[in-house]
Subunit: 147 residues, 2 copies
């Protein structure tokens, strides 16, 4: 999660919402990314999607069996759905996202037994640090908008 936070800080410096993600296999980081929605003008480019896509290309296989995802914010429906499709083994996330979160807040898509894959989920890892980063970012943005 430390590395995911480091990734998020990179986003922060580029006026992106500071979210970072890392994919690990057998305890080793194989891909990392930060949110690039603004830079790429593309709503698909959440940190988790970019990190999983990189991991997928690196491993050269359509599923990320056995892989773990670390992300600083609870995933949205798209990212949670992508974790199911990629057959991610375990998800660790930092801050809870009550407005869009689909790994426990609004839905828990990842543990729904009706899907043909489930992802183990642990939320609230280094929560305060991850949440504070987002809080400061939005406070800063509001301040800029006002001035």
């Amino acid at each position: 999660m430390r590395e995911a936070i480091k990734q998020a800080r990179k986003a922060e410096g580029k006026e992106e919402i500071p979210v970072g993600a890392v994919v690990a296999l057998n305890g080793k980081i194989i891909a990392k990314a930060h949110n690039k929605k603004e830079k790429t003008k593309n709503s698909l480019n959440h940190a988790e999607i970019l990190a999983m896509n990189k991991a997928c290309k690196k491993l050269g296989q359509k599923y990320l069996d056995g892989c773990e995802v670390y992300v600083t914010l609870e995933p949205c429906a798209m990212c949670a759905g992508a974790m199911l499709n990629y057959r991610i083994k375990r998800l660790y996330f930092g801050a809870w996202e009550p407005k869009t979160g689909c790994a426990g807040s609004l839905y828990n898509l990842l543990t729904d037994k009706r899907f043909n894959h489930r992802v183990e989920v642990a939320g609230g890892i280094l929560e305060e640090e991850c949440a504070l980063m987002l809080k400061n970012f939005f406070a800063q943005r509001r301040k800029k908008e006002r001035s």
Copy 2:
């Protein structure tokens, strides 16, 4: 939907699950794609994701405001989530997908008022044709596996 079916038929010929998608703006097709999960060895590459990603790049904007998506199969959680993120206006889909569908079957993510965007949904458009294509594909695949 006719063009989405045409796209799906392209996938069929390449041993991909035959799903096709089209993005339209003001009644004009701006992007089309078919499922490329096998070819690209990437679980992200569902027809809808590829078509919306193309549309996004074509328009040069992070949201696809006012756009409509036509897809031959009910979207999964990832694709439905991407439609929310891209702020798609309306979704038309063909066959229902009782195992993974998130636009009415297992969930209806697209009309959930807790999200900050909603997508209008019409399912079952040219349903028989879309479903038959999938049914034939899987029957063919089972036959090959057995022989």
